[in-house]
């Protein structure tokens, strides 16, 4: 067992990484550790926890910009924004519950480093679309900044955006700036019931291709419909389409969508409360909590979802978000992802990540999508440049990275 370090400021963080680099001591970088069960296991390392490196640095509602230290609880940031009628538009998915933890325990830095996104990804993008700048320490122990505090900035390479989805393997952030957004005054959700997968794909595609500005689109199969507590009976599939904005606009767009989707059967409207409950449920992955079954996250072109799913076993349960572009797959017949990735390749490509799996599976399977040789080599070269001694979350994403 290694030591556990909790730097309280950027200078301490810098000093610690300098030491680790000099001594070739690997560090497992975490916030509060809500996602340590996701990804490959980092072996024989000290723990570098950012939980004490916390606090809001700067927040000006009229600038729509917020800067906070990396270890700041996400919940603290979200409630501060809420008090000003604002939010993080990418509504990060909460992995806590499916990984055996509680809701709302993750950190700001963790959400960015894992490039989290929730159901509104379709309209608002992922964490990487909202990051503006950061201060971080790379693997040589050099404290540096990248990006800025303004929304439009092309000064130098976009390192702040590249930090997102690096899972702490390139640099450890001490402070991050993101753009925030005004919360919509109203939201409602249109629901279609009993569609099969192909019908749902068509309905979601028609909705997304209309001018109704749908911000989220999901398909919940019958087996999972009851997981949205209190809303659905659980015998029929639910195809849900979220509309947000000023009240008059939402009402108008409901009309647009109803016309667009008239061929798909009866349409119900969930009012604001029910709508919020539904999308929060998806954001927290309620459908897959309280179980230990293997869970994969698959990104695919929406219209290829159906053919991909037909390549899985009969027992596979799939929740479709992002109009079918994001699939949460629980397949008891799936072993190490080989068959699943083969099905993915056959249907035109995409990527699959093991979100929940036993320690044995995590050690043997490719947790993140295997890369083509050229891209894998480029990935190793980038890692080598930023962390030449392999001390930052070594092996978390790929062996040797």
């Amino acid at each position: 067992m290694g030591e556990s370090f909790r730097p309280k400021n950027a200078a301490e963080l810098e000093e610690l990484v300098k030491w680790a680099a000099a001594e070739r001591e690997p560090l497992e970088v975490v916030g509060t550790g809500t996602k340590t069960a996701l990804g490959r296991q980092v072996q024989g390392a000290h723990t570098l926890a950012l939980s004490e490196l916390k606090g809001i640095v700067d927040y000006e509602p009229s600038e729509l910009v917020l800067t906070a230290k990396a270890g700041t609880p996400l919940a603290e940031i979200e409630s501060l924004l809420e008090s000003e009628g604002q939010e993080l538009a990418f509504e990060p998915v909460d992995y806590g519950p499916v990984l055996g933890g509680e809701v709302g325990k993750g950190t700001f830095g963790g959400a960015l480093a894992a490039n989290l996104a929730g159901p509104r990804r379709l309209k608002a993008g992922a964490a990487r679309d909202h990051v503006l700048g950061l201060q971080a320490v790379a693997g040589r122990g050099e404290l540096f900044k990248a990006g800025g505090r303004v929304v439009k900035n092309v000064t130098g390479y976009d390192l702040a955006r590249a930090f997102c989805s690096s899972w702490g393997t390139l640099a450890v952030a001490s402070e991050i700036t993101v753009k925030v957004a005004p919360k919509a005054a109203q939201e409602k959700t249109l629901c279609l019931f009993g569609l099969d997968g192909q019908q749902a794909t068509n309905a979601m595609s028609a909705a997304m291709g209309s001018s109704a500005e749908v911000s989220s689109a999901a398909y919940i199969p019958p087996a999972l419909a009851a997981s949205v507590k209190g809303e659905f009976a659980g015998t029929q599939s639910v195809t849900a389409l979220r509309l947000e904005g000023i009240p008059a606009s939402v009402e108008y767009r409901i009309g647009t969508l109803k016309r667009e989707l008239s061929g798909f059967g009866a349409i119900d409207v969930l009012e604001a409360d029910g709508s919020r409950k539904l999308w929060r449920s998806l954001r927290q992955l309620d459908a897959f909590t309280g179980s230990q079954t293997t869970l994969w996250r698959v990104s695919v072109a929406p219209t290829n979802a159906e053919s991909f799913i037909s390549g899985l076993s009969q027992d596979a349960v799939v929740l479709r978000d992002w109009a079918g572009g994001l699939l949460w797959v629980s397949d008891p017949a799936e072993n190490d992802g080989t068959a699943l990735r083969e099905a993915l390749r056959k249907c035109g490509g995409g990527h699959a990540t093991l979100v929940r799996g036993s320690p044995t599976l995590r050690a043997s399977a490719e947790v993140f999508q295997p890369l083509d040789p050229g891209l894998a080599a480029l990935t190793r070269r980038l890692k080598q440049q930023f962390d030449p001694h392999g001390i930052l979350n070594p092996g978390r994403m790929y062996p040797g990275v």
Partner: protein, 498 residues
Amino acid sequence: MSGIAMPKPSEKLLRNKMKIVQDLQQIIPGEGVISEEVELRPYETDALTAYRQLPLAVVLPETVDQVSRVLKYCYDNDVKVVPRGAGTSLSGGALPLADGILMSMMKFNQVLDIDFENRAVVVQPGVTNLGITHAVQHEGFYYAPDPSSQIACSIGGNIAENSGGVHSLKYGLTTNNVLGLEMVLMTGEIIRLGGKHLDSEGYDFLALMTGSEGLLGVVTEVTVRILQKPETARAALIGFPTSEEAGQCVAEIIGEGIIPGGMELMDKLAIDAAEDFVHAGYPLDVEALMIVELDGPEAEVDYLLDRVSAIATANNSTYLRVSQSEEERNTFWAGRKAAFPAVGRISPDYLCMDGTIPRKALPEVLRRMQDLSVKHDLRCANVFHAGDGNLHPLILYDANKPGELEAAEAFGADILRLCVEVGGVLTGEHGVGIEKRDLMPEMFTEDDLKQQQRVKCAFDEKQLLNPGKVFPVLHRCAELGRMHVHKGQLPFPDIPRF
């Protein structure tokens, strides 16, 4: 050419020109290699015309295989390569090198796949920005980023510069609208990133490529997302007696939670020049003019226009006109879109700057720019994307008067230092290129710049792709690899651990 130094040309390469041209002709037969001075002339500059340089040769590949083989050849022979799209860069990103090859990607001009169901389009990099919209508009779709040069600029160039535009406040920059790409590294390796699905696997190389100014790889294919056009769009022209009041109005609109499709400001000099040029019907008795565009369903647009009008009135606006037809809306924009050429009519030359500042600093920056105008004894017209704090000060000068270009450049540098001082950045959308290269240390420390150059080293270790741009000092990659090691005991008694 004024004060910006480029890497010293290699005498050996200059002497070997004939051999290099012959070798390249083996790879690209026919007319794909240009080496005669008269034919090289059109490629000597981009839209930053104060700088000109003839390249050793120009190649116009037509296939990915040719791009790969040319780059591999150049890699093996240490020949530098400058990629070029439509040549509309305002920062000198495509300025050739005397001993380097200029690679024009404009023969890659095909739309490869239009996929309405997945709302994605696959194109070759030489397709123009507007060309993408033209390919999909019959179904009501469009490609959102809209740089002013969209009729001419290429999507490959948009990737290189992470181009924005009038609508980026609401719809994002290029980086938010690209799903995938194919690129060739300097070694000739072909790499694909992303696709029609969201979020690429592994590291976000799409983020690094977008805005990399042609220093990391040559883009050979692009997948972008397209959006359904908003049902309606209406614009309001709002005049203010002072720039400060206009600036305050911008901050309050955003602060109220309204994100307009576009929100532009022009100052007196720019208003007068534009009105004189296109007769857009702009008021001439105001000091600042705002164009706000709201888009979406009609009910939403009407509601938001009422709120914007109320905020403007509370900020002492003296002129308000809301477009009543599509024709009138386009007229409002015609003046704004012609602002640069309009200013070009009242001055022999102008320099266009591109800093971004926090919105709240707008009044202060406008005031201090006036002081700088007096200090440098040059006029300055202001046109800006007010919604996202992106300024385009146009510095008026006459290149035929000795010392005026230098004075204009000094004025511009002062403006950019001011932007950084108030918490902003050197460039919002035009790129660093050669123009702002030597100002990078104003914004970044040596350690900051080292991290950026390490990205370059991961992609192009020999630094043959577009050298001399973006970075004021070219560190050799081996030199960047060194590290100051200080050995110690288990450190920091003051760091809590357990």
